[in-house]
Symmetry: C2
Subunit: 369 residues, 2 copies
């Protein structure tokens, strides 16, 4: 299995890494941003749009696909790649984050998590073995260990939860049978450097072809997130990819790359698009604002996405005012290409050994979230 | 002006015609189906999708664009082609159909129609001159005379309304100043052959580069519609295109072509798509039905649209169940390509002088609306 999932570091600049990671559906060039297709579709976009914006890999959600349409159905139809017509790499999460978010309707035991469906209230249980079985049915290139993403500030709870997550990680390793999928372990430990250290050491000792860094961007400060990344990446092996889970603001991406992160995912770009916000180098642009009503300029004059090459702010604002679906599509295209290009530019800057000034210049100009 | 808007009949098979019509943004091959982009967007599709499905020309609505974003704004931004990034031909309607539909809030005089906006209740007046001025601001290749689409069965009212429509047609001709737009006259007269005859003769005498046939598919039977087409097309000149307005069911298209119609438009394919219905040679397929839950087949195995080439009925049903926007996009792509291809196939059949059996075979297999 490990033969198929090789990480190679092509260049390092400070802690920042430019690398490649091989999967059965192609080689990822890292650092990379992964668009999220929760329900086997990146909202409002076709797979062709995803190709156009330069997506190398997408993420899909085990919890959602298990409930609807069902992982058995996806398997019967040839797996997630064929089902959604995406022939490049896919990563699925473990479902853990979603079931733990159902705080009112779930119960955690050593065995796993009992929860009720948000769709129809029906009862279900996820265990490490069940999560792996579902992810094997879905058939992504990269699958994730079943973990608990604990609230960041309760040390006693984080210690207890993290140790259970470690036991679950081992159960996931034992449950996995497919050799054409890479299982990533996940480091937890809240905002506590000593817990993060223990977690990273324990998960690394179990041995995975890649590592997720979980439990960040969930309420802690940016300084705390950055501090945890520094602790964890000091321990994670240099010859494996590092994935900062659920992180997607431009400044968090740059800060992550500065600290040696290789992979990111977030619903932010497509969610912002549905709320009329375009991502730009200085922050966000709310295209619903009156000031854009007669503005013939594109969102960003230097952006080469389909939206910026062909449509004015005035047209996008018209689509928003007229409640036309095309608004979400066009702004999603721009936002995804913005984040994907930011990672491509970062990669090139690392290869050229100019990533430090590139990152500093970006962070200096960036005003918003 | 007429030099730019030449209709050439390449072949005739019975009454069915295969022709070309030249416009400033390209040559239409007829018969042709025109997708409707009411608010300067064909709902849920990018202009690239429209290219992909083979759209030669789209229709947009004067009433909607006048109210929002405003025709002056569209003009300021370079006209409708540039505004919505569609560089092929566009046709705008006159706004008449929409304002006459506002039956509770409009008042008709010889001068024009007073009406209230469906968006904010504000008062407005459309006159023939105003309609032409708006359509000149929008800048479509083909613009339509301001007419009244009367209820089909009231003969006294139809006679009175039709005569006013004729006077308005003349006022439209006098109001028009742009030479890069073709103004089509419109024949009215309800379901009454004698009125249709008078209307066709009167409008032809005024002299237009093309003719709309209005007031059909508004409640009359299909036999009545076909009878009116036969009366009118006997009178319309052979060297000008004929446009059956607002008609879009597959059988109506075939019946129209059989009777010498060249152009059609309708919201049906995109509206059906938003309600989960795919158009197929035998009628409609409701993709929300349970029977498709595990169906690996495309909507139509012989269709070469993007949707049928890449996605199963099971996937489309999943998108519908999950309320994902991509369902509308993918089914719209299929439905539009279905109607556009139907007209392309009809054209080829006419050129090959086998349209009569082609049409009969299609109508025989077609079960429903």
């Amino acid at each position: 299995m490990t033969d198929s999932f090789q990480y190679t570091c092509a260049a390092q600049d400070g802690k920042a890494r430019a690398g490649t990671f091989s999967t059965p559906h192609g080689i990822l060039e890292t650092p990379v941003f992964m668009p999220v297709g929760t329900q086997a579709t990146v909202k409002s976009l076709t797979p062709d749009h995803l190709d156009d914006v330069g997506a190398q890999i997408i993420l899909s959600n085990t919890y959602h696909l298990y409930l609807r349409p069902g992982d058995d159905l996806v398997a019967e139809l040839g797996g997630l790649h064929q089902f959604m017509h995406w022939n490049k790499p896919i990563l699925t999460d473990s479902g853990g984050f979603q079931v733990f978010s159902l705080s009112e309707t779930r119960k955690i035991t050593e065995e796993g998590v009992l929860f009720k469906s948000h769709i129809d209230g029906s009862s279900h249980e996820f265990t490490p073995e069940k999560s792996i079985a579902i992810q094997q049915n879905l058939g992504a290139d990269i699958i994730m260990a079943f973990d608990e993403c604990a609230p960041p500030y309760d040390k006693v709870y984080n210690q207890k939860s993290m140790q259970r997550t470690h036991r679950w990680a081992e159960r996931c390793l034992n449950a996995k049978t497919r050799t054409d999928q890479a299982l990533f372990g996940i480091v937890q430990g809240g905002v506590f450097p000593d817990l993060r250290e223990i977690s990273a050491q324990t998960i690394v000792k179990l041995g995975f072809p890649g590592y997720g860094i979980g439990g960040l961007s969930v309420g802690e400060t940016k300084d705390e997130m950055n501090a945890m990344l520094e602790v964890v990446n000091e321990i994670l092996p240099e010859n494996k990819p590092r994935y900062l889970m659920g992180v997607g603001s431009p400044e968090d991406l740059i800060n992550g790359v500065l600290r040696g992160v290789d992979m990111f995912d977030c619903v932010l770009p497509t969610r912002l698009a549905r709320h009329h916000n375009a991502m730009i180098p200085t922050g966000r642009m709310n295209l619903k604002n009156n000031q854009f009503a007669r503005d013939p300029n594109p969102i960003d004059a230097v952006c080469d996405c389909y939206t910026c090459q062909n449509f004015s702010r005035a047209y996008l604002r018209h689509l928003i005012a007229a409640k036309e679906l095309l608004a979400s599509t066009l702004i999603s295209i721009h936002n995804l290409q913005f984040l994907i290009s930011l990672m491509k530019q970062s990669r090139q800057a690392i290869l050229d050994h100019r990533f430090q000034p590139f990152a500093q210049s970006f962070l200096k100009n960036y005003k918003g979230n």
